[in-house]
Amino acid sequence: MIRYLFSFVFILLFVSVIHAERAQVMGSRGPDGTEVICELPEKEHIKNVGGRDGAGLCVFTSIEMSARWANENELRGFQQKMRKEPGGGWPEKVDRMMAKYAPGIKYVQYSGNDPGILDLAMKTGRMVAVTYGYSERYGGRVAHMVNLVHMDEKWATILDNNFVGSDKLEWMSRVEFLRRWKMTGGGWAVILLAPSPPPIPINVPAELLPERRNRLALEGLLASAS
C-alpha cells in the first residue's frame, strides 16, 4: 500500500515538473490571472520577415516592436528598411544599423547570464528584445529573438514575432524563460531607454478629493464634540 502511495506521489511530482516546464500560449492574462506588463496592442505587432538574402530579421523586428511600445518613432519602419540589408543579427550589427537608420535612439545592449537588467527593465515597464533558444512551437531549438513583455518572480511572457497576436503570448515560469534566454551560451538583450507608455489613468479616490476630505474632517470634529 505504502509502495503504491509513494509511486503515486512520485508520478504526481513528475507530471507537475514536466507541466511547469512547458510554455502556454495565452492572452494578456496568465494562468493565474497575472496581467502582462507590456501590453502592446495587436495592431502594433509586426511579423518577422527575411532580409535581402532571405535570412530572418527577428532581431530588428523585435527592436521595432520595443520601439513602438516606447514611442520611439524614429525606429518606426526599421524592419522595412532592414529588408534591403542581409538578414541575421548580432550586437555589433545592431550598433551599425542603429547608427545608420536611427542615430538618435538611446539604448543598452547586454550579453551574459545576469537577469538583473531584465528585472530592472520590467520594473520600469520597458519591453526588451531577448534571445530565445527553444519553444514547443517549433518542436526544438531556435536561433531567435523575441520580445519579453512580462517577467516577475513567478512568470515570464514572450511575444514571438513568428506568431504575432494578442492571444498568442507564450507564458512560462521565470526559471524556464531564463533557461531559454541563455540556451546558446548566454543571453543577449537590447533595451531602449525611452520611458514606458503612461499608466492607464484612474480617477483620484474620493477620500482624497478636497470636498470629501473636508466633510470627513467635519464629521470627525462633530463626532468628537458629541
Binding site: G54, A55, T61, G88, E92, G140, A143, I202
Partner: protein
C-alpha cells in the same frame, strides 16, 4: 510543382517561421517538403511519420532519421547569429562598450534609471505645440524645480498609447499629470488640461500633483516625538506552539470521552 495546401492530404508536423517553407506536390499527397531559404533540405512522410534529409547539391536522399525539429544538434535560424555574440559578459550603451565601472553606473542610475516611482506627465498634442512645451519643460525657470520629478512622454495626436485618456478630438490637446503606475499598470490622474496657458500655470499644477503624490512619502517612517508614557509591561502572550498543543490535548480528551460514552451505551 507547388500546389495550394488544400490539394495535399499531408500536414506539416510543425509550423516554422521566416526562412522556412513547407511545399507540396500534387502527385505526392502523403508527403511535404521542407525548404530553407529556398533550398530543399528534406521531406516528411505524413502517412508513415518518417523524415529524410536531402542534399540538394548532390541530389541525394538520406536514410530515414531524426527530423531537424527533434534533433538536439540542429536549430532553426530566425535571425540570431550566436557565433557573433560575445561569450564574456558585456554591456554597451548606445554602441559604446561599457566597462565594469560603466556597468555599475548603469545600475546606479546614470542611464537605465529606475523611474518607476516618478510622476508622469503625458502630453498629447500636434508637433508644434508639443515642441514648445517640451522646450518649456527643459528650460523655463518656472518649471525648473518641478520638471525633474516627472517622466515625460510626448505623443502625436492619434497614437495608440493615448487612447486610454479618451482625449477630446475637438481640442487636439491633452496634458495629464499622473502618479506612478501601481502593480496593475494604473496611475491616479491628478490633473488634466485641454489647453496650454503657459509654463507658470503648468508649474502650479505640477507642484500640486507632487504634493498630492510625493512618492517618497512613507507615513510609517514618520516618528512619534511625544514622550513615551510609563505603562507597566504587559504579560507576554503564550507562545503559539503551546496554544496549539493545549488545543490538541483538549480535542483529544473530548474525542476520547465521546468514544468512551458511545461504547458504554451499547
Amino acid at each position: 510543382m507547388q500546389t495550394p495546401k488544400a490539394v495535399s492530404q499531408a500536414t506539416p508536423p510543425v509550423e516554422l517561421g521566416v526562412g522556412y517553407q513547407w511545399r507540396y506536390r500534387a502527385d505526392d499527397p502523403d508527403r511535404v517538403y521542407l525548404f530553407k531559404a529556398g533550398v530543399q533540405i528534406g521531406g516528411w512522410d505524413d502517412k508513415k511519420k518518417v523524415w529524410r534529409d536531402y542534399d540538394s547539391r548532390s541530389d541525394h536522399w538520406f536514410d530515414p532519421g531524426k527530423p531537424p525539429w527533434q534533433s538536439t544538434n540542429s536549430e532553426f535560424f530566425f535571425g540570431v547569429v550566436h557565433e557573433k555574440i560575445p561569450e564574456e559578459e558585456s554591456y554597451s550603451i548606445g554602441g559604446v562598450k561599457a566597462d565594469r565601472t560603466g556597468v555599475r553606473k548603469l545600475f546606479a542610475g546614470d542611464t537605465l534609471t529606475d523611474d518607476s516611482s516618478k510622476l508622469r506627465l503625458t502630453l498629447i498634442a500636434d508637433k508644434e505645440v508639443s515642441e514648445r512645451i517640451s522646450g518649456d519643460l527643459k528650460s523655463h525657470p518656472a518649471l525648473a524645480n518641478v520638471a525633474p520629478k516627472f517622466t515625460v512622454q510626448s505623443y502625436q495626436w492619434g497614437d495608440w498609447a493615448t487612447e486610454v485618456f479618451r482625449p477630446d478630438p475637438a481640442r487636439r490637446f491633452h496634458l495629464s499629470l499622473q502618479g506612478p503606475a501601481n502593480q496593475s499598470g494604473r496611475g491616479i490622474e491628478y490633473h488634466a488640461q485641454t489647453e496650454y496657458t503657459g509654463p507658470e500655470d503648468l508649474a502650479v499644477a505640477m507642484a500640486a500633483a507632487i504634493r498630492k503624490a510625493d512618492p517618497s512619502y512613507e507615513p510609517n517612517r514618520t516618528p512619534d516625538l511625544r514622550p513615551k508614557p510609563n505603562v507597566p509591561p504587559a504579560p507576554e502572550p503564550a507562545p503559539v506552539d503551546s496554544l496549539w498543543t493545549g488545543l490538541l490535548i483538549i480535542l483529544f480528551f473530548i474525542f476520547a470521552l465521546g468514544k468512551g460514552n458511545g461504547s458504554s451505551d451499547e
